[in-house]
């Protein structure tokens, strides 16, 4: 955050157009203390802040900047979707398990991340009633980035063993219903423990505020990290699945689990791993995405619907598909916001419907993988 100036000093005696450039290259706010003589017509400042003129001055560069801004906004929005969707997708593709409680893992990740990173004051909810009015480790963000995946990985293992495994042989609908119910239970438990209120997941100090990008100008630094962290994690998971023995089993299992079992390879362990890795990714998404929005018990269900759209757009079981789907969804959202905001929310559903109708297996999914 830039240095705060005392606006009291600025009052009335300045022109709106007389600004001191700030440290990010943009024109600063009206911090000039020069007492300028007002022009006679009584409408000082208007002529030099005329929006028409300004836009002309920006010219082609302005258009390019706008396009790039929209693009990077979309990329960043898509990044969170990608992180949540990859887990959903590989679990669905490999284990044929539909996890409507995947959003709950995101929720767990965010809250655990919040508690590891900061120390928060509780005013409502059972925890506060029990006397835990101040809770959290306050170890900072990097600690959360390490601890949360481990915790949520463990949660994922438990979920596989006690929730998913007994339901592998039940129909899709039963899996959806079970995990839908579970998602409600998890959300309610968090609501009861922490209260329904929202918490501020402060961005880490080293990444808060804007950073200056070429052409685009000021851009929230944290959002760049979101894109970066996502890229690294996606690359890691991709390598894990493509280049390791574990990945080989997983990929084979995706194609034809029965055949792999026939070959004498036990799949229960890799399956456990897949669930754990998928869960851990959702958990990390919670930590990375947490600081973007206010944290409350509803965020899990809110992220779930777009994440599912990403999975079906990209194609079940495909990591690259999830990446493509996520970016596509993010970009659609960003473009519509810039062009026709009223339709932005409707747009992502239209996109999903169109893709599913034109290419039912998803953009990068293969026919035989789809359940």
């Amino acid at each position: 955050m830039g240095p705060r100036r005392d606006p009291v000093d600025d009052r009335t005696k300045l022109y709106a157009c007389e600004r001191i450039p700030n440290e990010h290259g943009g024109e600063g706010k009206f911090t000039s203390r020069i007492e300028s003589v007002r022009s006679g017509d009584g409408s000082p400042g208007r002529d030099c802040t005329d929006s028409e003129d300004d836009r002309k001055r920006l010219g082609g560069d302005g258009v390019l900047a706008e396009v790039l801004t929209v693009f990077i906004n979309g990329l960043q929005q898509g990044a969170i979707y990608v992180l949540v969707a990859i887990g959903l997708s590989i679990i669905l593709g490999t284990l044929k398990f539909v996890n409507f409680a995947h959003g709950a893992l995101y929720l767990v990740g965010t809250y655990v991340g919040l508690l590891v990173t900061l120390e928060i004051q509780l005013t409502d909810g059972k925890l506060a009633e029990w006397g835990f009015t101040s809770i959290g480790l306050g170890w900072g963000f990097l600690a959360a980035l390490v601890i949360v995946p481990i915790v949520v990985f463990a949660v994922g293992l438990l979920m596989e063993r006690f929730v998913a495994r007994p339901f592998y042989d039940r129909p899709d609908t039963d899996q959806i219903l079970l995990t839908f119910g579970l998602a409600i239970v998890v959300q309610e438990v968090f609501k009861i423990l922490f209260g329904g209120q929202s918490y501020n997941f402060a961005r880490p100090g080293w990444a808060s505020g804007p950073v200056d990008l070429p052409i685009i100008g000021a851009f929230p630094e944290w959002r760049l990290y979101v894109i970066g962290i996502t890229a690294v994690l996606v690359a890691g998971v991709y390598a894990l699945v493509e280049f390791t023995d574990f990945g080989l089993v997983v990929r084979a299992g995706t194609r034809d689990a029965e055949m792999v079992e026939l070959l004498g390879i036990k799949l229960s362990r890799p399956y456990l791993m897949v669930f754990g890795v998928g869960a851990a990714l959702a958990g990390v998404a919670g930590v990375v995405g947490g600081p973007l929005y206010a944290v409350n018990p509803n965020i899990g269900t809110e992220i779930l619907v777009p994440a599912f759209l990403v999975v079906v757009i990209g194609g079940v079981g495909s990591i690259t598909g999830a990446v493509l789907g996520g970016i596509l969804l993010g970009e659609t959202l960003a473009i519509l916001v810039a062009v026709a905001p009223q339709w932005s929310q409707v747009g992502i559903y239209v996109l999903a419907a169109v893709v599913l109708l034109a290419r039912p297996q998803g953009l990068l999914g293969s026919e035989e993988v789809t359940p």
Binding site: D172, T173, L178, L182, I184, V312, Q342, Y349, L356
Partner: protein, 396 residues
């Protein structure tokens, strides 16, 4: 009244064959029986619906314990129709839709707009809303049914959400956006009965004309659903749930039957949605949100999919917990504290403070328990219990 799904293979062959044959040929021999059972279902439903509001809101002792009230009885019946319609799809064809809010809410809006601009006759309003929902269901079903399983669930969810966001923003000029649709106008039923007034002479039993309207429509819906399920159509639906590939092999156009089931289900949701507009004289935009679809899923599963009456029971339980249990401040031991019919201890024994706030959690836990332990729902439990009693009786 047994709605137990018939065994797969038989149903498939029987149903498949029947469709090809003349209807009368098969139905004639057992026509008496069918008519009897159908009449029985209608009679039972009518009696139950007539007694329900009295039992729930006015009967001595029972209503005091239940803490029910007239409007909640009406609402339960309306949602009961919705859940029953939903279950025609989930329980009989195995298709799980997460977008039924589109039909419920769509019909509610259509009914509301119709009441303002065309006619405020309650019967016409219901017709208008229902017709809208049927058309919408046909259009969405046409698209969504291209894929089964998880894809179907997500596509319906996507369409439902699309409808919600349409109503919220681009169409807010018509729908009233976040504030909901407030311009609902209601003329007296058949030109002479004001809906909010009690039924003269029978108000102790059924309460208001609104309830009578809702109840009559509910009986019609139950009769229609019962007829469908016991028709060849119903058998095909069950065959599809058990194994749609096999149904396909015996020459059935599975897709077409699924579409029919979807349209019927959406139509019933539309009937309920239109009634909701009449009941509340207001259409909230949340009626299109996916949580509404989620609620009807919970109701149907809780009550018991695959039976005609299970989902209605589920609707009752859900709304009861939502509206009555949620208002309970303290969970106390029965017969303790003042105001009970039998008071053993004057000082209430409090088990849980702020009990009402847990209503959502309780529903979630019960829902999960039902899925894991009793896939046939609470109604299925009752049936099993009744069966066990009968068996005990016959042993002696």
């Amino acid at each position: 009244m047994s709605d137990e799904p018939t065994e797969t293979a038989d149903a498939t062959e029987e149903g498949g064959a029947v469709v090809e044959r003349e209807r009368t040929e098969r139905e004639f021999p057992s026509w008496e029986r069918v008519r009897e059972s159908e009449l029985f279902v209608i009679a039972i439903t009518t009696v139950a619906l007539a007694v329900f509001p009295w039992l729930f809101a006015r009967a001595p002792v029972i209503s005091g314990v239940l803490q029910g009230y007239q409007d909640l009885a009406t609402l339960i019946v309306i949602w009961g129709i919705f859940a029953m319609g939903f279950n025609l799809l989930l329980g009989y064809t195995g298709l799980l839709s997460f977008g039924h809010a589109a039909f419920w809410g769509g019909a509610a809006y259509a009914a509301g707009v119709f009441s303002t601009h065309v006619s405020s006759s309650p019967l016409l309003i219901i017709l208008a809303g229902t017709a809208f929902a049927a058309l919408l269901a046909w259009a969405l079903g046409f698209v969504a049914l291209r894929r089964g399983g998880i894809y179907f669930a997500i596509l319906t969810l996507a369409f439902g959400q699309m409808a919600y966001y349409m109503a919220l923003s681009p169409l807010s000029g018509i729908t009233g956006g976040e504030n909901g649709y407030t311009g609902v106008e209601l003329a007296p039923l058949l030109g002479s009965f004001f809906l909010q007034y009690p039924v003269p002479g029978l108000d102790w039993l059924v309460g208001t004309w609104t309830y009578v309207l809702v109840g009559v429509v509910a009986v019609v819906c139950v009769a229609a659903a019962n007829r469908i399920l016991h028709s060849p159509y119903g058998m095909v639906f069950r065959a599809i749930r058990e194994n749609d590939q096999r149904a396909e092999f015996v020459g059935l156009n599975v897709w077409r039957y699924k579409l029919m089931a979807f349209v019927i289900s959406g139509t019933l949701a539309g009937v309920a949605g239109s009634l909701f507009t009449i009941y509340s004289a207001y259409v909230p935009v949340q009626s299109l949100y996916w949580t509404t679809s989620g609620e009807v899923v919970i109701m149907a599963v809780l009550g018991g999919v695959g039976s005609l009456f299970g989902p209605i029971l589920g609707a009752g339980i859900y709304l009861y917990v939502e509206n009555v249990i949620s208002g309970v401040q303290q969970l106390t031991l029965p017969f303790t504290g003042p105001g009970e019919y039998v008071t053993l201890v004057q000082e209430p024994v409090v088990l849980l403070e702020g009990f009402g706030a847990y209503w959502h959690l309780i529903l979630g836990l019960v829902f999960v328990a039902v899925i894991v332990l009793f896939p046939r729902g609470i109604w299925g439990l009752f049936e099993d219990a009744a069966g066990a009693v009968r068996r005990l009786g016959s042993d002696h």
